[in-house]
C-alpha cells in the first residue's frame, strides 16, 4: 500500500472518531423587556424626557430576526427566525433553536432589527399558510403597510403629556431602516445541549430610543415618520433604537 493510501486511511479513521455523529439541539430563549432610562417601565406609563416632559408610550412593537450566536470554536452560527415583539402585550419572547453536535461556548450575539430583505416587501401576509405566523395575516396585524411598502419593522407611538398633548409616531421599515445590534460577551457563556434550554434577556431602553449620545429626537419638533414620508427622521430613529438594547445572558 502506498504511503498516500495509508495517509488517507488514517485521515478517514480520525474523521470517523472525531466527527459529529449525532446532531443535538437546544433552544436559546430570548425574553424581551423594556425600561426607561435604566428603570423598570411598562408601556402606557409616563417616563420623563430630557426636558422634564412626561412621555407616554402607547405602542412599542418590533420585528427581530437574522439572529446569530458566536461560538469560540465554530464562529458565527446563523439562526433564521423572525419574531414579533409587543412590549405592551404578551408576545415578548423568541425561541432560537440551535442545532449542532456539541455544546456551545458563546461569546457573541447578533440580532437583526426588522424583517430580512427577502421577506419584507412584495410579500402579502395572506400568503402565509399559518395566519398566526409573526409575518402572517393575524400575526402581523398592525405591522404591515401594504404589498409594496411591506412590513413595519418597529413602532414607537405615544404622546407627550403637554397641554395640549403632542402625539408622536415613529414607524420604521424598508431595507434602509434595517439595523443589526451585536454584543460581545465579557465572559463566554457555556450553552450545553444536554442540559435543557437557556434563557437570555434583551432589554430595550425606551428613553434611549429618543435620547442618544449624538442625537436627540424631540417629538414636538419631529412628531412623525412612516419612513416613506420622512426617511431622514426614520433613519435617525432606527440609529438611536439600535443603540438602546442591552443583553443579559
Amino acid at each position: 500500500m502506498k504511503s498516500t493510501h495509508l495517509l488517507a486511511l488514517a485521515c478517514f479513521v480520525l474523521w470517523g472518531f472525531s466527527g459529529c455523529r449525532e446532531e443535538a439541539s437546544t433552544t436559546l430563549n430570548l425574553v424581551f423587556e423594556v425600561e426607561w432610562q435604566g428603570a423598570p417601565y411598562a408601556v402606557g406609563e409616563a417616563g420623563i424626557d430630557d426636558q422634564g416632559r412626561d412621555v407616554q408610550l402607547e405602542r412599542l412593537e418590533c420585528y427581530v430576526s437574522d439572529f446569530a450566536v458566536h461560538d469560540v470554536r465554530e464562529g458565527w452560527i446563523d439562526i433564521d427566525t423572525v419574531a414579533r415583539i409587543d412590549f405592551g402585550g404578551t408576545t415578548r419572547m423568541a425561541g432560537l433553536e440551535i442545532v449542532g453536535c456539541q455544546g456551545l461556548e458563546i461569546d457573541g450575539f447578533r440580532m437583526g432589527l426588522g424583517v430580512p430583505a427577502d421577506r419584507n416587501t412584495d410579500v402579502d401576509p395572506a400568503s402565509y399558510s399559518d395566519p398566526d405566523h409573526p409575518l402572517g395575516y393575524k400575526g402581523s396585524a398592525g405591522m404591515h403597510w401594504g404589498w409594496a411598502a411591506g412590513y413595519i419593522f418597529s413602532v414607537y407611538e405615544g404622546r407627550l403629556l403637554t397641554d395640549p398633548a403632542t402625539p408622536f409616531a415613529y414607524h420604521a421599515g424598508a431595507d434602509t431602516c434595517f439595523r443589526s445590534v451585536e454584543f460581545t460577551l465579557d465572559e463566554p457563556t457555556l450553552v450545553p445541549f444536554e442540559s435543557g434550554d437557556v434563557t437570555w434577556t434583551l432589554t430595550l431602553d425606551a428613553y434611549a430610543c429618543l435620547h442618544g449620545v449624538n442625537d436627540i429626537i424631540d417629538p414636538e419638533i419631529d412628531p412623525e415618520t412612516h419612513t416613506g414620508n420622512n426617511l431622514p427622521l426614520a433613519i435617525r430613529w432606527v440609529d438611536l433604537y439600535r443603540e438602546a438594547w442591552t443583553l443579559t445572558p
Partner: protein, 381 residues
C-alpha cells in the same frame, strides 16, 4: 315526535329479491320492536365537509378545530340565523338587525329589540368575519362563537334565555325538523346552546365578500376609472399638508387602520378616531380591558361594502360617506387617547373637494352586490 331516520338502512334494497336475507332481517326487526331492546342499528352520522373557497389574495381562514364547516352545519346555521323562534316574541331573528341589503348591518344607528329597548351601538356588518380576531365594537368576544351567544338572551335584543331558546328548537313546533338537522350537522338530536352557536358561526364564516370592483381589478379583470384609482392612491398616502405635517403627502391616511393586507381593509385593532373629547357616554374598549389608555377606542371595521353599511361609527352618528370623510378631513376632536394618526393638531387632512370625491369613488369600488344578493345567505323562509 319521531326520532331520526337511520340513514344506513336502505329499505328498498332490502325488499328486493337481490337481498338474500330480508325475511330474516324483518323477523329480527319485529322481535327487536316487540322486546323493546334499544340495541338495534344506530343512526349513522356522516356530515359532508363544506368546501370553503378562499378567494385570491385572501389569507387562510382560521377555523376552530372543534367546529369544522360542514354542508349540514352551514345550512342549519342559515336556518337558525333567520329563525325568529330565537326571540322572545317570535318577531326577530339575527337577520332582523343584520339586513342583507345593508351589508348585513342595520340602517338605523341603534337597533330596536323585541321589548322596544334600543341598543347603544350600531349593529356591525357581518362580512368576512372568518378572518376577524375579535368581535363587537369593543372586541369583548374573542371568537365568533362567543359573539353569537350574546344577542339571543340580551334584554335589549332578542330577550330569550338560552334554555328556553333551545327548548323551542327541540320541540320544533314549526316542524322545521330541527332535531334531525342537528343530528345531520352534529351527530345528536339533543340541541344545546353550544350547538346552536356553532351552527350559526359556521354559516357566518361562509359569508365571504370577494367580488367587488376592487377585487376584480386586483385579479386583473377590470380597470378602475381615473377617479377611483386616484382615490386608491389617496387611500395609501400619508395625510396632511407637508408644510404643516412633517412627511404629509396630502393623502387620506386611511391605510394605517384599514390596511389592505389580505384584502380585508381593517387592522383588527382598536383606535380612537377623534369622535369625542371624553368618553362618559361610551368608554369603548376600556370597559373590557380596564385600561384608561383604551378609553374611546373601538374596533376598526372593514371598509368592504362600506357604501352599503351606513350609518357609520360605533354609534351610527354619520349618515353618509361624505360626512365620514369630512370628519377625518377635520382631524377629529382632541382627547386623552386620540390616535396619533389623527391630524387634530395640524389642521386635518386638508383635502380638496376633488380629492374627497376621488376617495369616495374608491370606497365605492369596495361594494360587492353579489355578496349581499347571494341566495345562500338570504332568509330561507
Amino acid at each position: 315526535m319521531g326520532g331520526p331516520v337511520p340513514r344506513s338502512l336502505d329499505l328498498d334494497a332490502m325488499r328486493s329479491p337481490a337481498y338474500p336475507c330480508h325475511w330474516v332481517w324483518l323477523m329480527g326487526s319485529a322481535l327487536w320492536l316487540l322486546s323493546g331492546c334499544d340495541c338495534g342499528p344506530k343512526p349513522v352520522w356522516e356530515p359532508t365537509p363544506y368546501s370553503l373557497t378562499i378567494p385570491p389574495f385572501f389569507p387562510p381562514m382560521d377555523i376552530p378545530a372543534d367546529n369544522p364547516l360542514t354542508e349540514e352545519g352551514v345550512h342549519l346555521g342559515r336556518l337558525l340565523f333567520w329563525e325568529t323562534a330565537l326571540s322572545e316574541d317570535h318577531s326577530m331573528s339575527c337577520g332582523s338587525c343584520h339586513l342583507p341589503a345593508h351589508n348585513f348591518s342595520d340602517p338605523q344607528p341603534y337597533s330596536t329589540g323585541v321589548t322596544g329597548a334600543v341598543g347603544t351601538r350600531n349593529a356591525m356588518a357581518l362580512i368576512n368575519l372568518g378572518w376577524a380576531s375579535s368581535f363587537f365594537w369593543d372586541g369583548r368576544s374573542p371568537t365568533l362563537e362567543d359573539q353569537i351567544r350574546d344577542p339571543v338572551p340580551h334584554p335589549d335584543e332578542m330577550n330569550l334565555p338560552w334554555p328556553e331558546a333551545v327548548e323551542r328548537l327541540q320541540q320544533d313546533p314549526l316542524e322545521r325538523d330541527y332535531p334531525q338537522r342537528f343530528f345531520d350537522a352534529f351527530g345528536t338530536t339533543e340541541i344545546t346552546e353550544d350547538l346552536v352557536v356553532q351552527a350559526i358561526a359556521q354559516f357566518v364564516r361562509t359569508m365571504i365578500s370577494s367580488d367587488s370592483k376592487f377585487d376584480r381589478w386586483r385579479r386583473g379583470e377590470v380597470e378602475l376609472t381615473t377617479s377611483e384609482y386616484n382615490g386608491y392612491q389617496m387611500f395609501l398616502r400619508e395625510g396632511g399638508d407637508p408644510e404643516v405635517v412633517p412627511g404629509g403627502q396630502f393623502g387620506g391616511d386611511c391605510f394605517h387602520c384599514h390596511g389592505e393586507a389580505g384584502l380585508q381593509f381593517t387592522d383588527h385593532l382598536f383606535h380612537n378616531n377623534g369622535l369625542d373629547p371624553s368618553f362618559e357616554a361610551d368608554p369603548g374598549r376600556a370597559a373590557i380591558s380596564g385600561s384608561p389608555l383604551d378609553s374611546g377606542l373601538f374596533r376598526t371595521p372593514t371598509l368592504r361594502n362600506v357604501a352599503l353599511s351606513a350609518p357609520y361609527m360605533h354609534d351610527g352618528r354619520f349618515a353618509t360617506l361624505e360626512e365620514v370623510i369630512e370628519h377625518y378631513n377635520s382631524g377629529g376632536v382632541a382627547s386623552s387617547t386620540i390616535d396619533p394618526f389623527m391630524k387634530y393638531t395640524t389642521g386635518g387632512l386638508a383635502l380638496a373637494p376633488s380629492q374627497k370625491a376621488d376617495l369616495i369613488a374608491f370606497l365605492h369600488t369596495l361594494t360587492d352586490t353579489i355578496f349581499i344578493h347571494k341566495p345562500e345567505f338570504q332568509d330561507p323562509n
